[in-house]
Symmetry: C2
Subunit: 213 residues, 2 copies
Amino acid sequence: MAVSKNGIGRQSMADRVKHELLGRIMDGRMAPGARIVELQIAEEMQTSQGPVREALRELEAMDLIVTEPYKGTRVREVTPKEIEDAYDVRAALELLAAQLAAKHFKGNVEDLRKAAHAVLTAAKRKDARAYGTYDVRFHRMIVEAANNRALLRSWEALAYELRIATRLGKGHVDLMAAQDVHWHLIDELEKGNGKAAGRMLAENVVTAFHQHS
Amino acid sequence: MAVSKNGIGRQSMADRVKHELLGRIMDGRMAPGARIVELQIAEEMQTSQGPVREALRELEAMDLIVTEPYKGTRVREVTPKEIEDAYDVRAALELLAAQLAAKHFKGNVEDLRKAAHAVLTAAKRKDARAYGTYDVRFHRMIVEAANNRALLRSWEALAYELRIATRLGKGHVDLMAAQDVHWHLIDELEKGNGKAAGRMLAENVVTAFHQHS
DNA sequence: TTGCTGCTTTTTGTATGCAAATTCCGACAT
DNA sequence: ATGTCGGAATTTGCATACAAAAAGCAGCAA
């Protein structure tokens, strides 16, 4: 299912521009502060100004870029405090997520164990990039299992700050530190103990932050 | 300060369209499911299609409207479960907000008391509309005092669902029910007791939901 | 050197025109 | 009556053209 969300591979130009820019911003090819000029992007993507402007408006609503009238648009810069703020919110959201997801996972944690295993092997290999990918996937599984649309939306809205954080914290983080918590967390979820699972997950998030700070 | 956020009263056409549509959606003049056609809005607002499309893209990113390619855009419909979901997230966010805001309010709750008083008098008058306005303002004060950008953003993203909820729950709600909690909450904040304040605020939110459900 | 002045260039904001896709609706056959 | 087939009308998607604002720059004066 590599095409799009609307079934057929036909997606609007504005969407393609949006995803392209989103990719560049997320993986750092466009760093915070980088200028974005509409006609330049339009030419690169073989399109015109209109679709680019639509894409920019969307990215602006996602708080990834900032626009000043008649001055231009830039990739948003994020301060260390904003990163810490985002981690606090993430912890609060995942605290709720684990509580809500407990019902879903009770006696049904096979997939979750597999995901945690992927994180573990990446940690053993000291592969920080893979670790990041699989760890996010692990957390996302729990948030999705909570089956709460608003929760998932809020959680996803924090993605940019978290990406910046992991990019900045290149300094040797202890990838094994979170492992025990993961497995105990899964045990609690398997027992349907949402409260305890929530506390563990929130704790896991704040320690992850301290590693990157 | 009725003009705009960028200082001078000169704002782009796309922004004007966005705020106009936002107003219509929020106050129910455009009900969930209502169709929005680009050229029609453009004519109403004395502008062209481009700015309208930009505004729509922004509202789409805010999850207020849904667009299907070549089919059109409509005001998003929200299910009762989505409303409940939003209240759960709101409770989780305000639980955090109160904890973070405790430091700010410690020994400095005058403004908060005034806001709570406005809610109280509206409740005594049985003026449900004023009650809604002032109650939101009261909660917003706490979220803003938390001084956490991501938190405020997430909280504001729930506004649509909450508006729908209060519009649906026209049935005689007990406006006095939350009063005691408000004042006790303020007392705890004044003492700097964030944990207790958070629990009270979250509890306050879920009871508010049950009134509207 | 410093600071102003006016022009040129760059970039954003908006309008118009047209292509692409969908929906609507009536004619016609069964 | 029902269905379905084929244009016409509507609506979205995109490209081009141009206006408006800001930024940069050269030249000149103090």
